[in-house]
């Protein structure tokens, strides 16, 4: 029998004494000398996939899970290898990570900060996960990122779009591949100017919570910079299902563009309602009325159906991209699941590969080594062209897609079409940009 400590701070004294007194060297486990939380011992390493499986984003979570399972398959040398073949780094061999077979555990975030943290904690405490990946909202991402920071594991964020994730809530152990509200706005503004002119009056409907506010702030700033006027910004309760009372006054406001800073069910409903009110058929100020949805997702587009036609928005990635990486991923995902991957699936897949690659390059699962390997890392071949993981805030910089609802979709998967691939240079910003200020990465925490 042996007492060994997995403790970081404030170890119970008696425990330490007992441990020192009773421990026999032969029973001591190797990981306890590795100096970080959940150091993998045997022949396997466990990753934690924490995605919403119940609640409004369950479908998105399911798609993330598919991608994560696919990534694990590829890492272990199964399937066709997907993006591992196109990835600029060739560190991954298809023999797991550092020769250890990759295993995974799954959990349900319920899209609630509390539940997400409980689920992540159980993965860390019970299943020995060294990395947590996934999620479908910024609240959850920030909460889990904070947890991973204090527990000493790596957090590879899934879908999280609020500026705060890598802004004021940035953490050394957390990394975001997904783009953010600022980048959406920066990518959208020129396209909107081209499409709708520079003299537009915009009416904003904004989900009344953190993400909504940052999204609205970003897009308002970007569009105002090119000459648009913001007529009104109306905050809508998150719990709203019927947005008619917010949309009805739009026509009388003199606005000719409606910006829906909504996501998920809110966005599906507000867009459906706006189209019902016939906004897209109207002419205001002598211009055709337009609707903009800053953040699109395939699943939302599917939920809104034909209502997305002609509506412009932005995305992190889309399966219709023609670079080799995207094609390879779409092919292996499509063949396995019979449907193209969503952009949240893509980000989770890529994040898993990026983590594995960083471990290989660092030669260690130690979070601090991984952080070092990822910081300032330039790579390509994972879609979106050349990409940088910026050291200052752990945000990925890459091309952003501007999408538009297709007028004549040929099947249920191409309801959105790519309008433009906004180059990375155009969406970059300084790490201390006011919208991201106040954050502090802190130091990487290896845990134990």
């Amino acid at each position: 029998m042996s007492f060994t400590k997995l403790t970081r701070r404030g170890l119970i004294q008696t425990g330490a004494v007992a441990g020192a007194g009773l421990a026999l060297p032969t029973y001591l486990r190797a990981e306890n000398h590795a100096g970080f939380t959940n150091a993998p011992t045997g022949s396997t390493v466990t990753l934690g996939f924490n995605v919403p499986q119940t609640g409004p984003y369950a479908e998105e979570g399911l798609d993330e899970l598919r991608a994560q399972e696919l990534a694990v398959e590829h890492l272990n040398g199964g399937g066709d290898g997907g993006m591992m073949n196109t990835f600029s780094s060739k560190a991954l061999k298809g023999n797991g990570i550092l020769g250890k077979k990759v295993e995974y555990v799954t959990g349900d975030t319920q899209t609630k900060s509390d539940a997400a943290r409980a689920s992540a904690k159980s993965m860390i405490e019970k299943d020995g996960a060294v990395m947590i990946n996934g999620g479908s909202s910024s609240g959850v991402a920030v909460a889990v990122q904070d947890l991973c920071q204090s527990a000493g594991v790596i957090f590879m964020a899934g879908l999280t779009h609020a500026n705060d994730t890598t802004g004021k809530d940035r953490k050394a152990n957390g990394f975001r591949h997904f783009f953010n509200a600022y980048m959406s706005a920066a990518a959208l503004a020129p396209v909107l100017k081209n499409a709708y002119g520079s003299e537009r009056r915009a009416y904003h409907l904004t989900a009344d919570y953190n993400w909504g506010w940052t999204q609205q702030e970003s897009i308002a700033a970007a569009t105002e910079a090119m000459g648009w006027e913001t007529v009104e910004n109306v905050l809508t309760p998150l719990a709203s299902t019927d947005f008619s009372s917010y949309i009805a006054p739009v026509l009388n406001s003199g606005a000719d563009v409606l910006v829906l800073n909504h996501y998920g069910g809110n966005m599906v409903n507000s867009l459906t309602n706006a189209v019902q009110f016939g906004l897209l058929d109207k002419e205001v100020n002598g211009k055709k009325f337009e609707i903009v949805v800053p953040l699109y997702s395939e699943l939302m587009a599917a939920g809104a159906g034909a209502n997305v036609q002609g509506v412009i928005g932005s995305m992190n990635w889309n399966w219709q991209l023609q670079d080799e990486g995207s094609k390879a991923f779409t092919k292996s995902f499509g063949e396995k699941y019979g449907r193209p991957p969503s952009n949240s699936a893509h980000t989770c897949y890529v994040q898993t590969l990026l983590y594995a690659d960083a471990v290989e390059r660092a030669g260690s699962f130690n979070p601090c080594a991984v952080v070092e390997a990822l910081e300032g890392y330039e790579f390509d071949g994972l879609g979106n062209g050349p990409t940088l993981y910026r050291a200052d805030d752990h945000q990925c910089f890459k091309d952003v897609l501007v999408m538009k609802g297709a007028e004549n979709p040929t099947n249920e998967y191409d309801t959105l079409e790519i309008v433009e691939q906004t180059p990375r240079a155009q969406v970059e910003y300084a790490p201390d940009h006011p919208m991201f200020a106040g954050g502090d990465l802190g130091k990487c925490n290896p845990g134990a």
Partner: protein, 342 residues
């Protein structure tokens, strides 16, 4: 002024959904004395009747079109719905287009059946149980129902468009001689009309049929009616079926307004209870009145002019109204004196 008019109009439309749901809830509470937390789920199932019919009508034969490619670059499988095959593309398309109104016919038997099964299989055993138990068992049922729907239809909202004929909106402004626009979507007007019709039908049924008379008597004094030797059980079953059908129909027609998803019932649940309480527990006209009233208040509270006075009022207006009503006039707007006042 026109902004307020618009919001009142809008409130009437919102309120019609509240009123319909609350009406069913009140029928069940008034006649059976059961607090039904699964009522929202019935509304949701109604909406999924629309989805289901749309799915059935679009059941398709697949033919392979070599000229087109799917997302993997394989030849595209083109789907042609059977109805288009049978009735020709135009009639077929029209039938699919009208799937939501057609779903009314589909939903009535389905909802009645679900109502009967629920009442006979479960609710019946809970008449004499405490309200807390009723709440729990129906809450459990609501979870089960929505999980079953989620299992078959997924968690994503499913677009269920209204017929093409109702796309667009109608401008009231010229009618009222206003020079601004007072546009309102056709389908929402249809929904309002439809709700009014259902409400009128329920009232007429209760007012002018013997069955309705007995039920109303039962609502007023259940024991006496039981003593009269009337088989109240069977009537209660039927009433539950009707209440389920009312909730279901509210859901069927609601599908084009907001794409149905599996948890839409829960979204309406708390609200519908608030409506019932504000209207007066057990009062049918109260439920309808409160439904419309809360719809209008909610719409008005969403105006920026009002929100700028009290920030966030639209988040809580419904609850504030409920609290005030309960404290000032506990029997609700139209509840009878002495009934459930404590």
């Amino acid at each position: 002024m026109d902004a307020i008019l618009l919001q009142i109009l809008n409130g009437l439309d919102k309120g019609s959904a509240y009123a319909l749901i609350a009406l069913g809830l009140t029928l069940i509470f008034g006649t059976l004395g059961v607090v039904n937390f699964a009522h929202g789920a019935l509304f949701m199932i109604g909406a999924f009747c629309s989805v289901t019919l749309q799915r059935i009508l679009t059941l398709s034969v697949e033919t392979i079109d070599e000229t087109k490619k799917d997302f993997l670059g394989n030849p595209l499988k083109v789907k042609t719905p059977y109805v288009e095959q049978w009735f020709g593309p135009e009639t077929g398309q029209a039938i699919i287009d009208w799937s939501v109104p057609l779903a009314i016919l589909f939903a009535i038997p389905v909802m009645l059946l679900i109502g009967f099964i629920m009442e006979r299989g479960l609710i019946k055993h809970f008449y004499k149980r405490p309200h807390a138990d009723q709440i729990l068992v129906t809450f459990g049922l609501a979870i089960v129902l929505q999980e079953v729907v989620k299992y078959f239809y997924g968690a994503n909202p499913i677009p269920t468009p209204a017929p093409q004929a109702f796309v667009g909106s109608f401008d009231f402004a010229p009618l009222l001689g206003l020079d601004t626009s007072l546009a309102y979507p056709y389908w929402r007007l249809v929904y309002f009309g439809f709700s009014t019709l259902i409400i009128a039908a329920v009232f007429a049924f209760l007012q002018f049929t013997t069955f309705g008379m007995v039920v109303r008597a039962g609502m007023a004094d259940r024991e006496t009616v039981g003593l009269l030797g009337i088989d109240i059980d069977r009537r209660f079953t039927i009433m539950f079926g009707i209440a389920a059908a009312v909730a279901g129909l509210a859901g069927v027609m609601y599908a084009p307004i907001n794409s149905p998803n599996y948890h839409m019932g829960m979204d309406f649940l708390v609200l519908s209870f608030v409506v019932v309480v504000v209207g007066g527990m057990g009062s049918l006209p109260g439920a309808v009145l409160a439904g419309f009233l809360l719809g209008i208040l909610e719409s008005l509270a969403s105006m920026n002019e009002i929100k700028s006075i009290i920030y966030g009022i639209d988040q809580i207006i419904i609850y504030v109204v409920a609290i005030v009503i309960l404290l000032v006039r506990p029997r609700g707007l139209m509840g009878r004196r002495g009934v459930m006042e404590e």
